[in-house]
């Protein structure tokens, strides 16, 4: 039985996808901020990929300098608001808060962060002014977190910045990929608009860069180029039946969900294939859409999943059932539509996965979601001369400044790390901007 009723209105949708980290009110922020110990060389800061000065901004909230707190956050992280809600804080800042060691509730750092950033976004408070035009131009490909962060920092440093974005909206996977109970579309877009208001970078929508001629033009007309394309569509499983109707990729499903919300079509029985965070998200989301039965099938053991345990717990609490040591071998259908998945049971010995003989079985379903990894942007990266990739097709960069092996190109975000978090992309974007600045002014 489904835990959630199928949402048919926006209201019902919002109820099922209730935000996990709602905004704090003044009283909550006051009590919570007063608890921070202002640790020296604080572990929470060390755990933040963008090294936000957490004790400082929390102290600023407690002394009612909320704008100052927001400034402290944005000084380190251009998507401070998005990160406050979408970061896996339990394994980052919050997980490192010293209170954990005494079994006291750790500081709710992400929510305090949002308390401050929301305040300035709502009042459209100008915290930054771009430096005087330095006469140099940078093109950014992709307006995901990496691209936006890079653009903001470059504008601050006085560069002219144009972002080329394939889609109609900015923010990349933050708006097309992240689960709706983490952040709303509106909230993501508001933050980008807020940054744009202050810093004035240009985003050209529906402008994919996809051939050599376009790239050469950008190279001629710009002093540097930043690659923030993220990773691509869901990779093929290379399995029989994959092309049947209702066999879809997780990234594509989430995008449809984020755009259509309650208008999306919901199947009865769903099998989600995969063991990463994307699989957890897709399963959770299907459950919240009121699908009658959602299975999460992973070919290895539960402990081997790449997903954070709290993401799995969340999926289970939404009604998802986990199937472990079940490897899909074929997607079965009636010729047009999917009707089930054929699995074989597995065991792992010394890290090697082995199918167990005579254990095949078919699990019925009317939809399969493949959350088994995304394809890399190899076709695109092949267009750029001298651009070296590692063996997992990730762009190789110098970690001091995120410069690629073609010096005119810098890169950051999922395209260099193969798929991490928003906060890593934000860090990369800023680092690359500083790298570009240094490279062009030396």
């Amino acid at each position: 039985m489904a835990e959630y009723k199928r949402p048919t209105t926006q209201e019902e949708f919002d109820k099922n996808f209730k935000l996990k980290k709602p905004l704090m009110n003044d009283t909550e922020a006051f009590y919570e901020s007063s608890r921070c110990l202002f640790c020296y060389d604080a572990p929470c800061v060390q755990a933040c990929p963008t090294s936000i000065d957490i004790p400082l901004f929390i102290k600023q909230i407690s002394t009612k300098n909320v704008e100052g707190a927001a400034k402290t956050i944005y000084d380190s992280n251009w998507l401070g608001n998005a990160c406050g809600t979408v970061c896996p804080t339990d394994v980052l800042c919050v997980g490192s808060c010293v209170y954990n060691h005494q079994d006291v509730q750790p500081l709710q750092i992400g929510r305090l962060q949002n308390y401050a950033t929301k305040n300035v976004i709502n009042s459209d408070k100008q915290l930054y002014k771009p430096r005087k035009d330095n006469g140099k131009k940078v093109a950014i490909i992709g307006s995901g977190p990496a691209g936006i962060a890079c653009a903001s920092e470059l504008r601050l440093l006085g560069f002219e910045v144009t972002i080329y974005e394939a889609k109609e909206k900015p923010s990349g996977l933050t708006v097309y990929g992240i689960a709706p109970y983490k952040i709303t579309n509106e909230e993501v877009l508001d933050e980008v608009q807020y940054l744009q208001n202050q810093l004035g970078f240009t985003i050209k929508y529906s402008s994919p860069i996809s051939n050599k001629a376009q790239l050469e033009l950008l190279e001629r007309t710009h002093d540097a180029i930043f690659l923030g394309l993220g990773i691509g569509a869901t990779a093929s499983l290379k399995m029989e039946g994959e092309n049947l109707e209702n066999v879809i990729g997780a990234v594509e499903f989430v995008e449809e969900l984020r755009m259509k919300q309650h208008l999306i079509e919901v199947p009865n029985k769903v099998i989600v294939l995969g063991g990463g965070n994307t699989a957890m998200d897709a399963a959770s989301e299907m459950a919240r859409l009121g699908a009658e039965k959602v299975y999460l099938a992973y070919r290895r053991a539960k402990e081997d999943m790449g997903a954070y345990s709290f993401e799995y717990d969340l999926a289970v609490s939404a009604g998802v059932e986990g199937l472990f040591n079940c490897s899909p071998i074929e997607i079965v259908g009636d010729g047009t539509k999917v009707t089930g998945v054929k699995f074989i049971k597995t065991s792992t010995k010394h890290g090697i996965l082995r199918p167990l003989e005579d254990t095949e079985f078919i699990l019925d379903c009317d939809m399969v979601i493949k959350a088994t990894g995304q394809a890399k942007q190899k076709i695109f990266t092949d267009l750029i001369d001298d651009l070296e990739l590692d063996r997992k097709s990730r762009i190789i960069v110098d970690e001091k400044n995120n410069q690629t092996t073609n010096p005119k190109y810098f890169a950051g975000g999922d395209i260099i790390n193969g798929g991490a978090e928003v906060v890593n992309a934000v860090y990369d974007g800023k680092l690359a901007a500083k790298g570009i600045h240094q490279w062009l002014t030396k």
Partner: protein
Amino acid sequence: MADLSVNFAGIKAPNPFWLASAPPTNSGYQIIKAFEAGWGGAVWKTLGVPTINVSSRYGAVNYGNTRMAGFNNIELISDRPLVDNLREMEEVKKHFPDHAVIASLMVDTREQWIQIIKDVENAGADGIELNFGCPHGMCERGMGSAVGQDPVVLKTIVEWVMDAAKIPVITKLSPNISHITDPGLAAAQGGTDAISLVNTFKSIVGIDLDSFAPYPVVDGKGSNGGYCGPAVKPIALNMVKELAQHKDINHLPISGIGGIETWRDAVEFILLGATSLQVCTAAMHYGFGIVREMEAGLTKFMDERGYNTIYDFAGKALPNVTEWKNLNLKYNVKAEINEDKCVGCDLCYIACDDGAHQAIALPLDGSRIPSIIEENCVGCNLCSLVCPVEDCITMVRTDDGKEKVTWQELTDKDEIPNTFNDARAGGNGHYVPEPSKALKIK
């Protein structure tokens, strides 16, 4: 952007945040670390005669989960050799020529004063602070607060010092006295260039219930200590005001000390006339990094209001601190409860019923949301002070602001009430329940 730099009686510093003479300024190492962290000046730990310190030196008042709301110590002046201090002072000045380094001094005879002033001048000190405040140990030897409490002796020593010193002299006052203006005036008459206050308050922060000895306990005994930290700020603020409003003292710059920990504290001291700020406890609690919050907050406050330097608003609160007899007796506020925010703790009810004016009623429907009985409310603020929810109880003005009369005006017109029967007497119309209403068995 606000310019935080100050020129305090000829002592220049990049900002008004100075470390007070205390353990954080015990060595050149600490002071350089502090300047690197953003402090604008430091008053060296008091130098003078040889001393021996005890082990177990500090005690604290914890208020709920707030550590060190008050702090006390039984430490003496520097126990490090004078030559070491002088050598390090010279080195600090070499690295930080533009920061304020002030030598706090405490010696006994005129000859000793003349010698030590020469020593610190040679070491490059930018100014001298006379420690007439230490309320333990040193006073037993006729120094510290023993001087601070005797205006005649204080004036004499200030005269000796003014005679000998070529650099600016700040006289630091002890608050352990009935009228702070007495030593303040003596210092002014002695010719001091500036005044700083407060030093610590004589105190016992607690008694150990096992050994019956006061904290900090030294082998079963203790001594009265010097009290400081956030808990003393209100008393310090009042003393700063007393001097800043005194016509024979207020030509002197004042360095405000006592419980400064946040930007708000700093602004308050400046509004009451201080033009440099000294901090001890906050630096001992959180380390030098705490200055980040103060500096960011002060800068924002000034930018927001268009103040270029702290002199633009120094003393601006002084005209509003007046004597009681000048307050408008027609001004009237009443409490208002925001029912949407109220959590039903009923602390306001019991505070008012037991501790104030029986002007809050509990609901009869068991909802726990109390209401204000307007005609009984005298506008004392108590309920709004105990309410745990931000902005839940607000005090709302009810008079029309057109009428104004003060006790002084009534006195001048001979219109003050002389008997309790007089209709003009206060409290006459106020509702008070019959005593028997409080009986448990009627």
